[in-house]
């Protein structure tokens, strides 16, 4: 019973934290709730479809079909987050200034957070598909536990996961508007790096990368990946007790890419745009 709740909780947690951070990051956008909700719904529908076709997908490409789908999902999610980070830290700063000056800015209203919408849908899709397969298995598995208790256990796990996401959102919402952009942008950059690390792992698991797949270190004695804190840090910043060189390489490369990309765009806009666009560096 509780094992089922725990599994659903773990799967939900990652997506819920993701949605919580994105919700805080887009706090000022009108219709944000509608965008986020559509992202979650699209993700759930996608998860059901992915779960229904799991048999076929799994058999693709000599048994690595699921990894290939994962690689695709992670790559798109990663691109969306990196693009968002670079865009927000440049134009977003301008937006925050305008928003403070004009109250509810017209300009902000025209921004459609589609990149984040896609990223949210994909996060829900990825975690959701596994959840659906697990629940389906529990219901049809003919175990000693009936349908009602299984569904109740799953609902408990789902609610608990969602509550953690809500907590993160509530916490971030207390940050003043001027600093909120910077704070959420750092968190989104870390989410992007964490996705990059997962991408590297998916590629190793599928046998598409051969070098650098051995673990660099083992910190599981200090903080195990499956402990409570380990799970939370895994979802937030991509903590892994036994990361491979390739995972760490991807992680660092994405953070460096976002940093350099932001500097590059800022540098360009400083040269061409109005003095208002001047950055703080």
């Amino acid at each position: 019973m509780f094992a089922a709740s725990l599994i659903i909780f773990r799967e939900t947690l990652e997506a819920a934290l993701f949605v919580g951070i994105i919700a805080a990051a887009t706090k000022q956008l009108p219709l944000r709730g509608r965008w986020l909700a559509s992202g979650v719904v699209a993700g759930v529908i996608g998860a059901l479809m992915l779960a229904l076709t799991a048999d076929q997908i799994s058999a693709w490409a000599d048994g690595i079909g699921q990894d290939l789908v994962n690689v695709g999902i992670l790559t798109v999610a990663l691109s969306m987050l990196v693009w968002h980070c670079i865009w927000v830290s440049t134009h977003g700063r301008q937006m925050a200034m305008d928003a403070r000056q004009l109250g509810a800015s017209v300009q902000v209203g025209q921004r459609k957070p589609w990149a984040l919408f896609v990223a949210v849908a994909l996060a829900v899709l990825r975690e959701g598909a596994e959840t659906v397969l697990f629940v389906a298995g529990s219901l049809t598995g003919g175990g000693p536990v009936g349908t009602g208790p299984v569904l109740l256990a799953c609902a408990l796990g789902l609610v608990a996961g969602a509550l953690v996401g809500l907590g993160v959102y509530a916490g971030l919402s207390r940050i003043p508007t001027q600093k909120l952009f910077a704070a959420t942008n750092v968190l989104i950059a870390l989410l992007a790096a964490s996705i990059a690390s997962q991408l590297a792992r998916a590629l190793s698991q599928a046998g598409l990368i051969e070098n650098g797949t051995a673990p660099l270190w083992d910190s599981s004695a200090w903080l195990a990946s499956d402990s409570g804190l380990g799970t939370l840090l895994h979802a937030l910043v991509g903590y892994d007790a036994r990361p491979s060189a390739i995972q760490l390489g991807f992680y660092v490369a994405v953070l460096a890419g976002i940093y350099l990309g932001t500097r590059l765009v800022l540098h360009k806009s400083n040269g061409t745009m109005s003095p208002r666009g001047a950055s703080t560096n």
Binding site: A54, D55, I64
Partner: protein, 114 residues
Amino acid sequence: MSAQRLFPQFAIVAASIALLCGTAQGADLEVQLSIKNHRFEPTELKVPAGQRVKLIVNNQDKTAEEFESHSLNREKVIPGGGKATIFIGPLKAGRYDFSGEYNEATAKGVVIAE
């Protein structure tokens, strides 16, 4: 920092990634693992250390199972009645526990690299 000075840094990052991404070559050792009645069979898999191994998991149950191992740094769902391939290692000599996350009470096993 000027844009011109940033490009070499991009190039270094890109080159490091390219270097790390060696493509898979040669035949990997194949090891078979089955899941039946929410148990792994065999429960002990002996593999050579220092070599990548192609693990083929055959799920004979009707329900999905998630092969999970924190020590191998792997997790993958195998649909009911389905097969999946998981590449593991190269491993240092030692014991690496794995389990079926959906049936942790019964589905347990260990990879022994030597």
